[in-house]
């Protein structure tokens, strides 16, 4: 494993990425994860409704959606830690369920919550989970040293993790998932609560693991992470994958529209309604301190947009016209911002 250290100063060059990966794993590429029609209800609430996707060897697939969209529920079913109401999951060609053990050995799982024992040291945590994956003896000791290097925790290996900073705990959380060199690495929002430096290093490490051939399922509600890391992205909202493809394919869904971001002072709700009624404007959404507008030929109609903002005590602080990104795609598809 030659992944760059996650915790070190990220002076490392970004991992080179293929220009435009195929929409589905290229023919002939080994499929590591295949899930079809996943469904899950909690009482009367339908948390996941027919989610399905495939991930090939060396591919990074992102599940992008706001909090509560069904990302964690979906990957909990993929990992076999949550019983599903319907659907199938195959990892490395073997079906997976709550009671199965063989297929689970191919998965490295990094949960969103820190899943480490605070009263054990980093080494003790790694050894314990390594033993659960059938590792032992010199091979386990060697592998523990390796992953401690990857997450740059070797000098704190014997300290109890309760003494670690939040970022160090996050890195150990990832190290445990990597320990047994899985074919499929599942990371559930691994950068939540992490400082920017550690976050950057984590993203680089994930990219390196993918380049080495590991299949990666990555959930996030950070659009930038999905754009940077993922070969393909599934946009999930209210338990459904509403769009899927490469970044380019998803952006094309928006058509020739641009995104106009207005930073404002005051309540922009009424202004957004006025903007939404203008010709050429696809949608206008007000959020705290900002209005997001999707419009065809935005530069051409920008004066009318600015005019529509006037009044209601709303002041314009800045204007930015950008090409559509995944945030814009989500806005276009759902009418709401990713971080609503």
């Amino acid at each position: 494993m030659a992944a760059p250290p996650i915790g070190r100063d990220p002076g490392v060059e970004p991992v080179p990425r293929t220009a435009e990966p195929a929409v589905t794993p290229p023919p002939g590429r080994e499929i590591v994860l295949r899930c079809v029609g996943l469904e899950k209800r909690f009482g009367s609430r339908r948390a996941v409704a027919g989610v399905g996707f495939e991930i090939g060897r060396g591919e990074t697939y992102g599940l992008l959606g706001p909090n509560g969209a069904g990302k964690t529920t979906s990957i909990s079913m993929v990992c076999g830690i949550l019983a599903r109401d319907a659907g199938t999951v195959e990892v490395d060609g073997r079906p997976i369920d709550i009671g199965t053990t063989e297929a689970k050995a191919a998965i490295g799982y990094v949960p969103q919550d820190l899943a480490i024992y605070p009263d054990l040291s980093a080494v003790e945590n790694l050894r314990f989970f390594g033993q659960l994956y059938g590792m032992g003896g010199p091979a386990l000791r060697r592998r523990v040293e390796e992953v401690l290097d990857v997450v740059d925790l070797r000098d704190r290996a014997r300290d109890r993790t309760e003494q670690f900073s939040g970022g160090m705990k996050r890195r150990l959380n990832i190290a445990i998932g990597l320990l047994h060199t899985p074919k499929l690495l599942i990371l559930d929002e691994p950068t939540v609560g992490v400082d920017p430096q550690s976050r950057n290093a984590i993203l680089e490490s994930v990219g390196a693991l993918s380049a080495e051939g590991m299949a990666i399922l990555y959930t996030t509600h950070y659009m930038e992470e999905a754009e940077r890391l993922c070969d393909r992205v599934g946009i999930i909202d209210e338990g459904r994958i509403i769009a899927e493809g490469t970044r380019r394919e998803l952006v094309d869904l928006v058509g020739g529209t641009d995104k106009v971001s207005l930073t404002i002072g005051g309540d922009g709700k009424a202004a957004a309604e006025r903007i939404g009624r203008l010709d050429g404007v696809g949608s206008a959404t007000a959020r705290e301190g900002a209005i997001d507008v999707l419009a065809s030929g935005a530069r051409r109609i920008l004066p009318r947009i600015l005019e529509a903002v006037g009044g209601d005590g709303v002041s314009i602080r800045s204007v930015e016209v950008v090409e559509p990104d995944l945030e814009a795609v989500f806005l276009h598809l759902t009418g709401k911002a990713l971080r609503d």
Binding site: S76, C79, G80, I81, L82, A83, I98, G99, T101, E102, A103, K104, A105, I107, Y109, P111, D113, L114, A115, I116, Y117, P118, D119, L120, E124, F128, F129, Q131, L132, Y133, G134, I176
Partner: protein, 392 residues
């Protein structure tokens, strides 16, 4: 199996590290044993006391009281009997605690008895209530015999005869003979653990619940800190997770019991019976405690809640099961209810082992009930715990 042992090892390591295992499995039993050694002296388990006697009469009947009646207590190694010259000296010894009671036979006692007049023996009791009661019982029994003699003599006189010396002597001999019906209580004499063993066993079965609970609490802690999702994602079955937690609790319970047994044996001279018979009794008792702890924890949402619930259940079962009051002295209703507790069956098994000829068959009822409680409650707890894992 390997995964369960790995999980159990991790739990035990954590409990050793936060010292809860040391406190509940080692220090608490040791502390209790030490407390008993102070509060319940060894001599209590083989009762012995001392009486002083002032025989100011010196007559024939007084001699019988001193030599035969009180002498029998000495022969049975229940009491030392020392003769003192003055009532003042005897009273002083009772007052300073060197004697439990003084028995004073006044002058003219024999003459009064032989003449059929009221006679008096004074007992000066000290603070040792049990010893004083023994002295009182011995003298009362003698007084009853004297009453019989006086009645016989009175009957002879009423029939026109004279109470000659031969009649009086024959009456005395007859009264001294044992009664025609001898009552022996084999069960109580041969199958009752002594006081040190009883309290050692009672505390052991009560506190084993506080040791075994750590297995079940570990499951709730895993859910609370988020590690349960990682355990479930590992290539191990949910049964291995539950089995590992149960095994850790069982080991902690077993250590607590063993420490208590060894400590009370060495410090208190407690007699726990033959090790080969004690071992299955202890194993089944720990299994019962483990099962109940698992069931209790399965209804809780947090380790803190489970710990509180377990304490309530452990103390309630202990109170009902005869830990604080021997069931033989409890009201009939309580005695019946106590039979649903593992405490009752464990203490009954320990009582049985106190007998010199106890066999595995003798403790079989205790073993069967304890095992049944362990299997039943443990199975219910594990089923509920598994459902909670899967339905997360």
């Amino acid at each position: 199996m390997r995964a369960a042992i790995v999980i159990a090892g991790r739990i035990l390591r954590q409990r050793l590290r936060d010292r809860s295992a040391i406190v509940f499995a080692i220090l608490t039993p040791l502390g209790l044993a030490l407390a008993f050694s102070v509060l319940i002296p060894n001599e209590f388990s083989s009762f012995h006391t001392r009486f002083v006697v002032v025989n100011r009469d010196g007559g024939h009947v007084a001699g019988i009281l001193v030599t035969d009646v009180l002498g029998s207590l000495k022969a049975a190694d229940v009491a030392d009997i020392d003769i003192l010259a003055s009532e003042t000296a005897a009273t002083d010894e009772v007052r300073d605690g060197s004697a439990a009671a003084a028995i004073v036979i006044p002058e003219g006692f024999t003459a009064a008895v032989e003449a059929g007049r009221p006679a008096e023996v004074r007992i000066v009791g000290g603070e040792f209530a049990v010893s004083v009661e023994i002295a009182r019982s011995a003298v009362s029994r003698f007084a009853s015999s004297v009453g019989s003699i006086q009645l016989m003599v009175a009957t002879t006189v009423a029939g026109g005869g004279a109470p000659d010396a031969e009649t009086v002597s024959a009456a005395q001999v007859a009264a001294a003979e044992p009664g025609p019906i001898a009552i022996t209580d084999t069960a109580l004499e041969q199958r009752q653990a002594n006081l040190a063993t009883f309290y050692g066993a009672a505390m052991a079965i009560m506190f084993v619940f506080f040791a075994t609970q750590y297995g079940a609490l570990a499951l709730l802690a895993d859910r609370q800190v988020g590690t349960m999702s990682r355990l479930l994602a590992a290539p191990i079955s949910p049964a291995a997770i539950l089995g590992g937690a149960s095994f850790a609790g069982f080991v902690l319970g077993l250590v607590a019991m063993t420490v208590m047994i060894v400590a009370t044996t060495l410090l208190q001279g407690a007699n726990w019976g033959p090790p080969a018979l004690l071992a299955p009794l202890v194993l089944t008792a720990v299994a019962a405690a483990m099962g109940i702890s698992m069931l209790v924890a399965s209804v809780a949402r947090t380790p803190q809640q489970a710990g509180s619930l377990n304490a309530i259940v452990a103390l309630s079962l202990a109170a009902v099961g005869g830990v604080f009051i021997p069931i033989s002295q409890a009201p009939e209703t309580l005695a019946m209810v106590s039979q649903v507790t593992p405490h009752f069956w464990f203490l009954r098994g320990i009582d049985t082992l106190a007998g010199p000829t106890a066999t595995l068959g003798d403790i079989a009822p205790s073993l069967a009930v304890l095992l049944a409680i362990g299997i039943l409650t443990g199975a219910m707890g594990l089923v509920r715990a598994r459902a909670a894992l899967v339905a997360r």
